[in-house]
């Protein structure tokens, strides 16, 4: 028994911490692994729905990773993809039901994109690549990390788009709307960019983030 404890690594060993921090930069699910793009772009018109979406994905990624990892030794390999799909679908339905019950406005704004978390490749990708081979605790951290990495990009894009939109303000969850562009600017004739709220701007904002990230980190550049 005591031997087993010795072999076990501490809860927050450097290796485990990297599982959380790597997805923020070098292994970011969106800008580097190119996973989960669909929802990242579609829900970023405003900050608040993006925030709720990020929370939902973090929850589904972390809990799902843990469940798969706990079950990993029992899952028959022939139906493992189906089992993973069932677990994601279960969690996503729960998230959807909870949003509908307690955060109705946001659930209306997210509409079908909550359902599309099921096919968000981040989840299936992490379940298959990480949780099937690792213990529950690292899997949980990995899910959390990837969820955060995804959420970070989501929030960046959403903040960018909302600030430059004609309203010039930021709708923070729990705080209400904050005016970012001062009224004086509008009085002087500043007009927000109507483009920012239209779909193509999401793509261009992500491209800008990728540009910045890759020019700082040359390992990531493609040939």
């Amino acid at each position: 028994m005591s031997q087993e404890i010795k072999e076990r690594e501490p809860m927050f060993s450097p290796k485990n911490m990297r599982l959380i921090t790597n997805p923020f930069n070098k292994e970011n699910p969106i800008t580097v692994q190119v996973l989960g793009i669909c929802s990242a772009l579609a829900v970023t018109v405003k900050f608040e729905p993006a925030f709720m979406m990020a929370l939902s994905v973090i929850a589904v990624a972390a809990i799902g990773n843990t469940i798969i990892s706990v079950l990993r030794n029992t899952i028959p390999s022939r139906i493992r993809i189906i089992v993973q799909l069932v677990v994601v679908a279960l969690l996503v339905i729960l998230v959807d039901q909870i949003l509908k019950a307690f955060s109705y406005d946001v659930s209306k704004q997210l509409s079908v994109f909550v359902g599309l978390i099921i096919t968000n490749c981040i989840l299936m990708g992490r379940y298959e690549a990480f949780a099937m081979q690792n213990k529950p605790w690292p899997s949980f951290l990995d899910g959390l990390g990837n969820g955060f990495g995804y959420g970070l990009i989501l929030l960046l894009v959403a903040a960018f788009r909302e600030i430059f939109s004609p309203s010039g303000s930021l709708t923070l969850p729990f705080f209400g709307t904050v005016k970012i562009v001062p009224q004086a600017f509008f009085d002087m004739g500043y007009v927000g960019n109507g483009m920012a709220i239209l779909p193509p701007m999401a793509l261009i904002s992500v491209a800008i983030i990728i540009w910045i990230q890759r020019s700082r980190n040359e390992d990531l550049q493609e040939n």
Binding site: V45, R78, L90, G194, I197, L198
Partner: protein
């Protein structure tokens, strides 16, 4: 045990499916009351907004009960088939609030029969008639409520909402009233749905300013949202298609009002 044997796979799948089904059913049943309540409260808020009362999710139900005195169901030929007054039925047994507008409108379109809801608000002794609207915008459904004064002609207020109109353009129809600013729904106040010869004219949302139009009287038109022409057309159609079903009711109501005086 052989993990790739058919028996194992089959048992595993069955256990998984049953487990998932149980969890989902429990969650769905326990959360259902909350979800239904949200939908009801939103509907109440929309109805109240058309008579210029802004409510929060907390007080909507209470304000609704105190302001909306009657819920009527009328038929296309103008008969009142159901009256729900101060918490009880005085005629029929269908609450206007529980009517599925979409179903009724399509049945009216097909068979000329349907249960059309009207809400009557009572504010400081004055009656207002609120008619729910439902239609199609550019992308998807739009809906709203329009409140008429007790002459059943002059618009007292209106509100609109949408599922997925273009943000910043068509979506502006849903702008909430703000102090010192004229939003889209404010324009409807004081407009008339009949012309001087008491023919049904509805209210059109027109491009390029109502004042510059010849075909539409100033009383029967409001200005479109710039950049949201197709959503504006959707609003025009929605108001016309929904209100036209009530014309018979309005006419009978008017003549009974006049003979009553």
């Amino acid at each position: 045990m052989n993990k790739n044997g058919n028996l194992y796979i089959f048992t595993y799948a069955s256990v998984l499916v049953v487990g998932v089904a149980v969890v989902l059913t429990v969650a769905s049943i326990s959360l259902k009351p909350f979800q239904d309540k949200n939908v009801r409260i939103e509907k109440m808020q929309n109805i109240l907004a058309s008579i210029g009362i802004q409510s929060t999710a907390k007080n909507a139900e209470q304000i609704y009960d105190s302001k909306i005195s009657e819920e009527l169901i009328v038929s296309v030929d103008g008969q009142v088939t159901s009256v729900y007054e101060n918490g009880k039925f005085t005629k029929g047994n269908l609450r206007a609030f529980d009517v599925d507008l979409k179903k009724e409108l399509s049945s009216v379109q097909k068979t000329k029969k349907g249960n059309l809801p009207i809400f009557v608000a009572d504010i400081d002794g004055k009656k207002y008639y609120i008619i729910p609207l439902l239609g199609k915008g550019l992308w998807s459904s739009i809906w709203g409520n329009i409140a008429l004064e007790d002459d059943l002609n002059t618009v007292y207020g209106a509100n609109f909402d949408h599922k997925s109109e273009t943000p910043g353009l068509g979506a502006e129809i849903a702008q909430k009233p703000k102090a010192g600013e004229k939003v889209f729904s404010d324009q409807f106040k004081g407009k008339k749905i009949f012309d001087d010869a008491s023919d049904f004219k509805s209210i059109s949302v027109v491009k390029g300013g109502v004042a510059n139009q010849k075909a539409i009287a100033l009383d029967n038109g409001v200005d479109a949202i710039s950049g949201g022409t197709l959503t504006s057309n959707g609003v025009t159609d929605m108001i016309k298609d929904c209100l036209v079903n009530y014309v018979n009711f309005i006419k009978t109501q008017k003549s009974s009002n006049e003979s009553g005086n």
